[in-house]
């Protein structure tokens, strides 16, 4: 349960998919009789609008976009999949087998009036299952790349709590020895939590406050970051303070590696710090704020793609310049307006 608390994005994505499943199975969905694929898709879009928690909630629309894409793939007549990775290949194989079974079922039961149920059961529910599987297994797929990026006795910098990074480091620990420096942000105490969780597994961990970042960066070999949202131009949205770390890393020529599941891919564009941002209550920053002494706090930091070296996702490794390809596979262009 503690990992779910520290992964609010994953948690909300999972929960929204499960609500959809409940709606469909409980027959509470307002779907016209004899629905087609398009009806289902519009219903899912409406549901995502309802479940969205504000204009800066990217994760619920992301997961519904993925669901719609999977549904489209499953129900399409074309059976051609380009070969990319071994892991992806096996998944596609599984999809083709599923689709063949769907086609066989539908060809047999064309006469009956169970058309809507057939579509629902044979296309929507399996695609929901697949999306849930992708969400839960994203960490394992990322960890396959764990040992390829470090050398022995390296010093790594991490910032605030990220379960993806935690799992990554634990699987990398099996092959290499390294040292970790955890930067702690001033507002939340997640940095201390991260350091204790890492220290439990006998890793060499040092905890520093954020202000020491410049002094510490001289010693660091690589930076590992979790992320809140990956944008289509290759930039990312993350906990405030990440922009400063990435600027420092560029000054010291320290590579920045970003780890995330593919459910954080957001097909939007940002160009400065204010495009996707929200001011936070001043009392969170300083409990003694008054009107004369206003405290300013923000939700996100936007990091432009020039500061990032590599994205490692569960769909593969990408540079910021090439991650748009992943968007075209993962989502459909028609659904970007959710």
């Amino acid at each position: 349960m503690s990992t779910l608390k520290a992964q609010p994005r994953l948690y909300s994505s999972r929960e929204s998919i499960l609500t959809l499943k409940a709606h469909l199975s409980g027959k509470q969905a307002k779907i016209p009789k004899n629905p087609t694929m398009e009806d289902y898709i519009t219903y899912i879009k409406k549901l995502s609008n309802r479940l969205k928690q504000g204009p800066l909630d990217f994760w619920i629309p992301n997961v519904f976009r993925r669901l719609i894409q999977v549904i489209r793939l499953m129900s399409s007549e074309d059976g051609f999949f380009p070969i990319k990775d071994k892991e992806k290949n096996f998944k596609e194989l599984g999809l083709t087998i599923l689709r063949k079974s769907i086609r066989s079922k539908t060809t047999v039961e064309t006469g009956s009036e169970t058309g809507s149920n057939a579509i629902q059961q044979d296309v929507i529910l399996p695609s929901i299952e697949q999306v849930l599987e992708e969400l839960e297994a994203h960490s394992d797929d990322i960890n396959t790349f764990a040992s390829t990026h470090f050398f022995t006795n390296e010093v790594l910098l991490v910032y605030e709590y990220s379960t993806t990074v935690l799992n990554f480091l634990l699987s990398a620990k099996k092959t290499r020895n390294f040292e970790i420096i955890v930067l702690e942000s001033e507002t939340e105490n997640l940095g201390k939590q991260f350091a204790t969780d890492l220290g439990k597994h006998n890793l060499n961990v040092t905890l520093t406050p954020f202000t020491n970042a410049y002094a510490i960066m001289q010693r660091v070999n690589k930076t590992l970051l979790g992320v809140d949202a990956i944008l289509k131009n290759g930039g990312l949205l993350m906990h405030p303070g990440t922009y400063a770390i990435c600027v420092l890393a560029k000054q010291f020529a320290v590579p920045v590696i970003v780890l995330s599941g593919a459910h954080k891919l957001t097909p939007k564009y940002a160009f400065d710090q204010t495009t996707f941002n929200q001011l936070v209550s001043p009392l969170k920053i300083n409990p003694n704020s008054t009107i004369d002494q206003m405290s300013i706090g923000i939700t996100f930091d936007y990091v432009p793609p020039e500061y990032i070296s590599l994205y490692i996702t569960n769909q593969g490794q990408y540079t910021p310049q090439s991650i748009y390809q992943l968007f075209s596979d993962f989502y459909n262009v028609k659904d970007e307006d959710i």
Partner: protein, 443 residues
């Protein structure tokens, strides 16, 4: 300004210390003898320390909880009459910062034992001062230096010449050296404090030649200290504020980091002239200096925005200038300041925002330093658990490179970061504070 001044006229020419071969040979022999004796004593001490460490490790392994209770009474070793502070080697870091000094925390129990020591070894005003340094009540380079000089004046008044020596000057010089060595145990000595130390030793050299008696020389020395404070700190700050007011036009947005005596006075002065500024104060929650500055400005009726260092990226596009105070300026143009300043300077250079440093000239130093980790001070402001599986690290100072600094505002004028060495050279000619007045001797 930590090197010795040039020899004065009238004295026979002596070769500089580096090139005096005869004296150097003798010195080398003496040092070797001392080193040998020290090595022997160190070996025995190391063996003792190793045994102690092994004992402590064994205890930790066997009984983790009970050893926590046992360790504090073990660390308070019995204090000798001459030893004021105890060096605790078991607290030393074992990682890449093991070269940095760790200062003993003084809680109420150990303070009582320290005060019971013979007051001749360390005057009570210095003890109070050092404890204030440790607690965090006395933070900031100017504040620390002024408090130190006030404590020194108190000490001078209470000082009684021992019957053996006739000259006040020589005896007092050795006392001063002792004081400095002892104060190093509490917190590292400031650059400003070491400049004042050099100034006072200069004055004592002058006193040595005159034949003043004890009381008159004490009064003269106190007057010299007052003159130092007046000219180097108070009137310097007025000049700096005047220079800076020309730079900053009305209505600009400025960003300030942590709390600096100069910048606080500058802002208050600026608003008293009737001009307006938009002020963002970047807070340092570890030391709490930013919120102190905000409170003080509020008392004067100046409103400002408060922001954290990690959230600074949001407002950097709206800021016109960044103002920062200094602990010292180094010879290679680097700035020693509160930790976090270098991060701010790096961000400022990417966003092309002018970065101004306010620094009086007495804080200029002959040292050079390139990175923040080769010399620093570790701040132990929070008590960590014994059981925690991570080591926590927090530094006090930060080195900002000269290419990030646009301008230094001093009482001498507006200088670039690379001119620090030239300014030090100019001041050396004048004994740091114009010419020191020789006291009148009526004979």
């Amino acid at each position: 300004m930590s090197e010795k001044p040039n020899p004065k006229k009238g004295e026979p020419w002596k070769p500089k210390e580096k090139f005096d071969k005869k004296a150097n040979k003798e010195k080398l022999k003496q040092e070797q003898d001392q080193a040998e004796t020290k090595q022997e004593s160190n070996k025995t001490a190391q063996q003792q320390q190793q045994q102690q460490q092994q004992q402590q490790q064994q205890q930790q392994q066997q009984q983790s909880k009970q050893s926590i209770e046992q360790q504090p009474p073990q660390q308070l070793q019995p204090i000798n009459d001459k030893q004021i502070v105890q060096t605790d080697t078991s607290n030393k870091r074992k990682d890449f910062l093991s070269h940095l000094p760790i200062f003993q925390d003084y809680n109420s129990v150990s303070i009582k034992t320290v005060k019971q020591i013979d007051p001749q070894t360390l005057h009570h005003s210095f003890i109070e001062l050092c404890i204030q340094y440790q607690n965090g009540q006395c933070i900031g380079s100017t504040h620390r230096c002024v408090e130190f000089l006030n404590a020194l004046k108190q000490f001078i008044k209470d000082y009684k010449l021992p019957k053996q020596s006739n000259y006040f000057a020589m005896a007092f010089l050795t006392e001063l050296k002792n004081i400095f060595n002892l104060m190093e145990n509490f917190r590292t000595v400031n650059e400003g404090m070491s400049t004042s130390y050099l100034f006072i030793s200069e004055c004592l050299m002058i006193l040595r030649k005159t034949k003043l008696d004890e009381n008159e020389s004490k009064i003269w020395l106190c007057n010299q200290i007052d003159q130092f404070i007046q000219s180097k700190i108070i009137s310097a700050s007025e000049l700096i504020i005047k220079n800076a007011t020309q730079l900053i036009q009305e209505g600009t947005t400025i960003l300030v980091y942590a709390r600096s005596y100069l910048i606080e006075n500058f802002i208050i002065n600026y608003f008293k002239q009737g001009k307006q500024l938009t002020i963002f104060v970047v807070d340092n929650p570890q030391f709490g200096e930013g919120s102190q500055l905000v409170n003080r400005l509020l008392q004067q009726g100046i409103s400002c925005y408060q922001i954290l260092l990690s959230h600074v990226s949001y407002i950097l596009s709206k800021v016109d200038k960044i103002l920062v105070g200094a602990s010292s300026m180094l010879c290679n143009g680097a700035l020693v300041s509160r930790v976090g300043t270098a991060l701010l300077a790096c961000l400022a250079s990417t966003h092309k925002i002018p970065f101004l440093v306010f620094c009086e000239s007495y804080k200029f130093s002959e040292k050079s330093q390139i990175d923040s980790l080769s010399w620093n001070e570790i701040a132990q402001l929070e008590y960590g658990n014994e059981n925690q599986q991570y080591t926590s690290l927090s530094l006090r100072y930060d080195i900002t490179q000269s290419n990030y600094i646009n301008m230094i505002v001093t009482e001498v004028g507006l200088i670039p970061a690379t001119s620090v060495k030239a300014v030090i050279g100019e001041f050396k000619k004048y004994n740091y504070v114009d010419a020191i007045e020789v006291p009148r001797v009526d004979q």
